[in-house]
Every structure is written in structure tokens, then in C-alpha cells.
């Protein structure tokens, strides 16, 4: 061992400590150590340390549960975390709970983590929706005002229901009497409530070969010996003179047309109005149109009260009310309503159309 020096002495020293050197080698080592007192002191200080005896079984890896994997739906999960989540979700079995409890009883990182898992449950915040009323479906039961609106709507609906057939019936009674061609000769118009067809008959007995004037007005006159009013007088009574059941008037070559609002009120006995052309010699304002003349004749003959006509206006007014009600209700409930009204030249309501989501009505008055 002549080669022992300060660089390789440790190997020899370890062999010496473990008893693997021969006597000669040991003497050489001791001689080297005698020469190097600092190394001898170091060796002696190390010799005083008692090396601990490692006991098997005490030093174990406590987090084996982390190494285990749970396979769920094709995915691998850490078994410990899986158990913690299962406990939090209430899905863990008794055996799993026991296992987790056993793990967590040991102080360490796992118990800390398990405690953290217990804290990841969200607590609801006090958040409320501010506009709940707007979410409610409209409910009439609990709202007094809305009850009234619904009542008004019902009245309007009833009004419509009853008005339509009444008006239609009234319309059906209208009879239009007209000539199919301009009158160029004397005509006799026969009015009757028994027929639904247009009652215009040309009576050739009154035919005349007289040429026509261009006047558009009919003038009350007297013919065939009847009393005749003076045409030149202002505010002349514009009625044809009646002789028994025959009325005679003079007219220009126009298409006579008359509308009889209520033919059921006409006399059952047919009346004949004879019309013949005349030459107008006075101002046209003093004359009636054929229509006016005939209408007046029929009204007088049938005894039609002017109130009957006003009722028709009332019907139109009822439609106006119904439209107003529907529009108001539509505004309340927020559904769109389209109202279209047409008036004649005199401002009378002639047609009304009400279109809503719920109801669409169109009526010609």
C-alpha cells in the first residue's frame, strides 16, 4: 500500500472500517494516518456517529391512492380526486366513504386537499329578476280594470254579431229600380214589394214620338188634363201630381234610378209611375232628378218614415262605436288593429274594415 496518499486514502479507510484489509495493509494505513493527523482526526470524528438503522415498513409512500386510476367513460381519473368529488356530489358508496375517511385521517397533503374539495360547492347568490310582472301571461281574473275592458270587448262583439245580420237584412230589402237604357220615350215604372227583381217596365201605351230635350231634371207637371204647377216659379213643389194610382212626370233622356230602402213597406197594390220626356224651359234647379222624383214617389206611396233612414245612419254609428271599442281594446292589449273607413261625398260612412289578430271584418254600409 505504498501508494496511499491524500487522494485515495478514503477507499482504503472504508475497507479498513469494514475489516477487509490485511494486517500489513492496515499497518500501512495507520502509518499514513500517523503522518497526516488532520485526516486521522476526521476519521475519528466520523467514527463517533452512530448510523441509524433503517427500519423496513415505516417509510411508505402515503399517496398511493393518487397513483390509482379510475376509468370512467373512457377517461382516466385520479382515484383520490374521484372519491372526493363523489363524496361532495353524494354519489360515494359507504365503502368509498370509509376509504376516503381513512385516507384523510392521516395528516398530510391528501387531507388538506380533501378539505379543499369540500369547499368547492357554490352557494347561490341572492340575485333576483327585476321584471317579473312582464313575464306573466295576461290574466283577466285578478284585474278589475281588465275585466271592464273585456266586458267592453264582449259588448262590442255582441254588437257586431247582432248588427251584421240586421244590416244585411236591411240591405237585402233594398230594391233598385232603374231603366236599362236611357229613356227616350214615355215610360211607366211599376213598383211592387212582391217582386225581388228590378221593377222597371216600359209601357208602350205611353210611348211618344216627341224628341227629347237635354235637361237632366224632371219637373212636376200636369198632363192629360191634370193640374200642373207653374215650372217657372221658384221653390216649386217638386212632386208629381197624383191622379188616382197614376203619376205622370216629364223627364229628360237619362237613366232613371231609384233606391227603395224598405220595399216591405210599399203598398201591396202595385203603383205605376208614368214618365215621359219634356222640354225643360226653366232653370234646372227647379227640377228634380229622375231618381229623386222616383224615390220621393215611392216613399210617399209606401209611407216610408224618414226615421227609417236615420236608423241606417244609426247602424253606421254603431259600427263606428264597435270600431272604437276594438281599437281601444287592441291598444290596451298591444295587438295591432287596422281600421279602414270609406265615406261618400256627403260624409256618410259607406264602408268599414276592421282587421285585428283576432278578428277581421269588412262591411259595406
Amino acid at each position: 500500500m505504498a501508494n496511499i496518499n491524500r487522494h485515495n486514502y478514503r477507499t482504503t479507510l472504508i475497507d479498513f472500517s469494514e475489516g477487509r484489509l490485511s494486517e500489513r495493509e492496515a499497518d500501512e494505513l495507520l502509518a499514513f494516518m500517523e503522518e497526516n493527523h488532520d485526516l486521522l482526526d476526521e476519521y475519528l470524528s466520523m467514527s463517533n456517529v452512530d448510523m441509524p438503522i433503517l427500519s423496513q415498513g415505516k417509510d411508505v409512500f402515503t399517496e398511493k391512492v393518487r397513483l390509482k386510476k379510475v376509468v370512467f367513460v373512457g377517461e382516466e381519473f385520479d382515484e383520490f380526486s374521484w372519491l372526493c368529488v363523489a363524496r361532495l356530489e353524494g354519489d360515494a358508496s359507504n365503502s368509498e366513504l370509509s376509504e376516503l375517511k381513512r385516507i384523510c385521517e392521516k395528516p398530510g397533503e391528501l387531507s388538506t386537499e380533501a378539505a379543499l374539495f369540500e369547499r368547492v360547492k357554490l352557494l347561490p347568490e341572492n340575485i333576483s329578476y327585476p321584471y317579473k310582472k312582464s313575464l306573466k301571461r295576461f290574466d283577466i281574473v285578478g284585474n278589475q280594470h281588465l275585466r271592464w275592458y273585456y266586458a267592453a270587448a264582449s259588448v262590442a262583439a255582441v254588437l257586431l254579431i247582432f248588427t251584421i245580420p240586421v244590416w244585411r237584412d236591411h240591405q237585402q230589402q233594398r230594391v233598385i229600380a232603374s231603366a236599362s237604357a236611357p229613356i227616350e220615350q214615355n215610360l211607366a215604372i211599376k213598383l211592387s214589394s212582391k217582386s225581388s227583381s228590378t221593377e222597371v217596365h216600359v209601357d208602350n201605351r205611353f210611348a211618344s214620338n216627341r224628341s227629347q230635350s237635354g235637361a237632366l231634371k224632371i219637373r212636376s207637371t200636369r198632363a192629360n188634363g191634370l193640374k200642373m204647377a207653374e215650372a217657372s216659379q221658384p221653390n216649386l213643389e217638386r212632386k208629381a201630381v197624383v191622379r188616382s194610382d197614376i203619376e205622370v212626370a216629364e223627364l229628360s233622356p237619362i237613366t232613371p234610378k231609384v233606391v227603395i230602402n224598405n220595399p216591405s213597406l210599399l203598398a201591396t197594390t202595385p203603383r205605376v209611375i208614368k214618365i215621359r220626356p219634356i222640354e225643360v224651359k226653366s232653370t234646372p234647379a227647379n227640377y228634380q232628378t229622375v231618381g229623386e222624383f222616383l224615390a220621393e214617389k215611392v216613399s210617399n206611396a209606401a209611407g216610408i218614415d224618414q226615421k227609417q233612414v236615420k236608423k241606417a245612419v244609426g247602424k253606421a254609428r254603431a259600427w263606428e262605436y264597435a270600431q272604437a271599442s276594438i281599437s281601444g281594446i287592441a291598444r290596451i292589449f298591444g295587438f295591432p288593429v287596422k281600421v279602414d273607413k270609406q265615406y261618400d261625398a256627403e260624409g256618410n260612412l259607406k264602408k268599414i274594415s276592421i282587421d285585428t289578430k283576432l278578428l277581421a271584418i269588412s262591411k259595406t254600409l
Partner: protein, 152 residues
Amino acid sequence: MDLYADNVYRFILKNIKDEDKAKDVVQDSFEKLWVKVGEVSFEKSKPYLFSIAYHTMIDLIRKEKRLVGMEAAPSEDMSHSEHYSDINELLHRAVQQLPEIQRNVILLRDYEGYSYEEIGEITGLNESQVKVYIYRARVFLKTYIGSLEMVI
């Protein structure tokens, strides 16, 4: 209805973090519910309402994503520059970091107490998927608050 409105509103608000849009979603959801009210039983009305709200919200989110286009998505890092004194506040912050589907299932689970099956009906997932998403969300939340506690 009062209770459901709050629940739906809370669920949506926690998802999209915009009060006005959340209110719109609630309004739309109830309108759709009323349209179908004759076809839905009383017992099923709440899950049905949530389902409508969920899909309405998803539609809204997708629509907005389309509008935003290539705008950068919010980062999901776990840095904590803010200070929290309340664990619940911290958790809600963490919930916002969750992926959308995980956030939805965890909110439905914790806020509304829905079962896996009910959450599946609302979100269109099966029970296993719901369970997995909940697991992932829980682990994320645990890690999130754990890392913050280490910082504190």
C-alpha cells in the same frame, strides 16, 4: 313563476355576465314557455324553462362570437392578482374561468340542485358526460382555490 324567474335569471347572468342580455334571455324564455304551455306539464315546466333559457343563451353566445370574430378569447390562466376575502367570491371568480359547458353543469348542479339526468335534459348531454364535466369542474375549482390559498 317568481321563483323560476330568479333562478333562470341567476343562471343566465352567471354565465354571460351581462344583466341586460340576461334579462332579454329570461324574457324570451318565458315567451317561448307560454307558447308551449299547453304541452308542458307543471312538473316539467322548470326543467323545460331552463332548457329553453340554456339554448337561448347558447344561441346568443354563438351569435356574439360570430360578431366578435377573431377577437381574442378570455384567458383561462390561474393568475391571481386580485385579493379575495370571501371563499364564495373566489369560487364565483373561478367559475368564470371554467369552460362554458363545465360552468353550465356546475351552476345547474349547485344553484338549482338538478340531478345528472335533469342537467342532461337541459344541456343535451348524457348522464355520464354530465358527471365527467362536473368532476373536471370540481377539480379545477379545488386547484384554483388551493393555489390562491398558497399565495395568501
